[in-house]
């Protein structure tokens, strides 16, 4: 159930800060905004949450009636007509493929079929798949093979899949934030599982202070980032993972080799939109060692923790934008 909570701050000009939590996209989300009364906060937040749910329904690969499921179900058989929003997202996917040297590939979701991050039906712990299991799946990965004819999309091989999971959450956060702006909200943010789209600073003009979790301690923050506008997103190796033979295997998979990336524990990026922040952080994870240079060249502020627990960061006004706390090594 969605909950409206008034954060314990002094109401400024009768304008309190309201926090509305909800469940979406397989996790928790919240809309935080300044409004004079609960009813108004509720009204604005409901519209933003409805937008998140709309995008979830439209693009979830878990829903048979979603656009993505229809395209995937027709793989190898038929092309599927897409609306302008879907075509715009496919254009974005195309840009990401090029900008990442082929590492960000929206057809790589099939690799998940070989990777299990929890115990199986017999209770056996997960373990890495062998090469024979990966090979046929890797053959299904390849954005350049996706055919587009005007508004029609065709996956040429049965079993090929599109998956917008790599940026759907951040896109939804940006859209939900735009819904808040359209309703006149000037102070607030949308948080979808740790990825944020910030509409504007707190009602008193101070920036929001956003905690970034420690990638090795679920209950600890390693930094607190002041954000007034734009997007903040984190990619990490801690959301789904298992250990085997002393090696950690996370859910971020290199689409070329079909195996998890290892160089970064987490990469957080601050950018003008949640979508840009999320894709830059994911690509940095995928680029592994080269990700650091990619981050430096990006011009965005970032905070990255490598596999040894070393912090790498860049922030304009270095002491101000990112204030690292304790980092578990």
């Amino acid at each position: 159930m969605m909950a409206v909570t008034h954060t314990p701050q002094p109401p400024v000009d009768g304008i309190g800060t309201w926090r509305i939590r909800f469940a979406a996209m397989g996790g928790s989300g919240e809309v935080v905004l300044a409004a004079p009364a609960a009813a108004q906060a509720r009204r604005c937040a409901d519209a933003a949450i409805a937008e998140v749910l709309r995008i979830e329904h439209k693009y979830s690969r878990y829903r048979a009636d979603s656009v993505v499921s229809r395209i995937n179900a027709a793989a190898g058989r038929a092309d599927v007509a897409c609306d302008s929003e879907t075509l715009a997202l496919l254009d974005y996917a195309h840009t990401l493929f090029g900008a990442s040297g082929g590492l960000f590939d929206v057809t790589s979701g099939v690799l998940r079929r070989a990777w299990r991050f929890g115990p199986d039906a017999q209770g056996r712990p997960p373990q890495p798949p062998d090469a024979a299991a990966l090979e046929p799946l890797l053959a299904l990965v390849g954005w350049p093979r996706v055919q587009r004819d005007g508004a029609r999309i065709f996956l040429p091989e049965p079993g090929m899949e599109l998956d917008f999971g790599g940026f759907g959450k951040e896109y939804a956060a940006d859209r939900a934030a735009a819904v808040l702006v359209a309703q006149g909200v000037a102070h607030g943010h949308v948080n979808l599982g740790g990825d944020l789209a910030v509409v504007g600073p707190r009602a008193d003009g101070r920036p929001w202070s956003i905690g970034i979790r420690d990638p090795r301690r679920a209950d600890a923050l390693m930094a607190s980032v002041p954000v007034s506008r734009g997007g903040l997103a984190t990619s990490g190796d801690y959301e789904r993972w298992f250990e085997h033979g002393g090696q950690r295997y996370c859910h971020v998979l290199d689409p070329v080799r079909g195996v998890p990336v290892r160089h970064w524990r987490s990469v957080s990026v601050l950018a003008p939109s949640a979508l840009a922040a999320g894709t830059v952080s994911t690509i940095a994870m995928l680029m592994q060692r080269e990700g650091l240079r990619f981050l430096d060249d990006s011009g965005h502020d970032y905070l990255a923790v490598d596999a040894e627990g070393r912090l790498h960061q860049r922030s304009a006004g270095a002491t101000q934008a990112v204030s690292p706390g304790i980092c578990a090594h």
């Binding site: 969605m2 909950a3 409206v4 909570t5 008034h6 954060t7 314990p8 701050q9 002094p10 109401p11 400024v12 000009d13 009768g14 926090r19 609960a38 009813a39 509720r42 009204r43 604005c44 409901d46 519209a47 409805a50 715009a88 997202l89 974005y92 840009t95 090029g98 900008a99 990442s100 896109y171 940006d174 859209r175 735009a178 819904v179 359209a182 309703q183 006149g184 909200v185 504007g200 008193d204 003009g205 101070r206 920036p207 734009g230 601050l270 950018a271 003008p272 939109s273 979508l275 840009a276 830059v280 690509i283 060249d297 990006s298 011009g299 965005h300 502020d301 304009a316 006004g317 934008a321």
Partner: protein
């Protein structure tokens, strides 16, 4: 965030291309259907009011009030309140003399049902009150409409009440009073830190409008009043304070003309606390049938002019100036609770009339108000 707005070297870097592509995605969105609050708020407010003149306490009112706002199914929500006033003390029979004891209890309740639409709300309300000598029943209809960008909100409303007066003095029995009130308001958000509001109201009263407990109080059986309110809230970013100012104008065909200037300053003082000092200046002209104190007659009652159709010796219809100073302390110990306490002092003098044309011969009039409030969200 300046740090990120300068991000990327245009399209020359991969991340620059990503940013350009991310920002090119369609983000212009229609405003979707609006909902209603999913939680209820219950609040209790206790008021203690005492007014006095030199040498005598006059009226005291103790009034606890309970209010509830809660969502109903779908786009509907409900508001309701009950209040019980215990009135005691003494009130002058004429001017500031002839104090006679009074004691009464007033019970009142109201309920409002609101339907939310995409850009609008519509509310209907009913209210009633009962005293031993006075009954009132009212119906109201109110609507709001907001522009697409939510920066402009219009509000309009209509309220009608029917009252019945049965004073213990039995100067009248079952006398009726009918009031119709219309208002129109415009609220404009000028910037993230600035809001303005203009409200215009018309009030039409018909029937028995006199005060049955005052001598020689014969007022016209109709009164048409116009009121205008202009106010603004401005937030100061640096210190987190808020300034609220207001100007109220009132005029009616009894020739009562009044202006009120108000200023409040909300100062956050700690994480959970804020303090709000407030100041109000008021000045009003006398009603055309108000009878000034005749010093020759004192201490006896001043006689109305011979042949006057209407007359009143009520201090409230005299010409005066008044100052109210108050302070409010608000504490929000956790997300669900809000507590506040407010203290106000009111002082009214004839010589404080803004043009120096105040009524004479009246005792100074002072009042103090304590108010304690607690609200809990569920």
């Amino acid at each position: 965030m300046a740090a990120t707005e300068s991000a990327g070297d245009g399209l020359s870097t991969p991340a620059g291309r990503i940013l350009a592509a991310a920002l090119a995605l369609p983000l212009a969105v229609p405003v979707l259907a609006q909902g209603v609050p999913d939680r209820a708020t219950l609040s209790l407010r206790v008021l203690d009011y005492q007014d006095r003149q030199p040498g005598a306490d006059r009226v005291r009112v103790k009034a606890p009030a309970l209010a509830l706002a809660m969502p109903l199914a779908g786009p509907w929500s409900l508001g309701a309140s009950v209040v019980s006033d215990a009135i005691s003390g003494a009130s002058p029979a004429y001017h500031t003399r002839g104090l006679s004891r009074l004691s009464d209890e007033r019970n009142a309740a109201d309920v409002t049902l609101t339907r939310a639409f995409d850009d609008a709300t519509l509310s209907v309300g009913a209210a009633g009150s009962h005293e031993s000598d006075y009954d009132s029943a009212a119906l109201s209809l109110q609507g709001t409409w907001s522009s697409d960008d939510r920066n402009t909100t219009w509000a309009g409303g209509l309220a009608a009440s029917r009252d019945r007066v049965n004073p213990v003095t039995a100067v009248v029995q079952g006398a009726r009073k009918r009031v119709l009130d219309v208002h129109l308001g415009l609220t404009r958000v000028l910037s993230a830190t600035s809001v303005w509001q203009v409200n215009l109201g018309l009030n039409r009263a018909r029937g028995y409008l006199s005060d049955p407990y005052k001598v020689f109080d014969v007022r016209p059986s109709q009164r048409d009043a116009l009121r205008l309110l202009v106010r603004g809230n401005h937030h100061l970013r640096d210190g987190g304070q808020t300034v609220r100012w207001s100007w109220r104008m009132y005029r009616d065909d009894w020739k009562v003309r009044a202006h009120t200037l108000g200023l409040e300053f909300v100062q956050p003082i700690a994480a959970q606390w804020s303090v709000t000092p407030a100041l109000r200046l008021h000045s009003q002209d006398r009603a055309r049938f108000y009878v000034e104190v005749d010093p020759e007659a004192a201490p006896f009652v001043t006689q109305p002019p011979p042949g006057a159709a209407y007359s009143s010796l009520d201090q409230r219809l005299s010409a005066f100036g008044a100052v109210t100073a108050g302070i409010k302390l608000t504490w929000q110990p956790d997300p669900e609770w809000t507590l506040d306490v407010k203290f106000e002092r009111y002082a009214q003098r004839g010589r404080w009339h803004w043009r120096g044309e105040g009524s004479t011969g009246l005792a100074a009039f002072d009042a103090r108000t304590w108010q304690f409030g607690v609200a809990r969200r569920f």
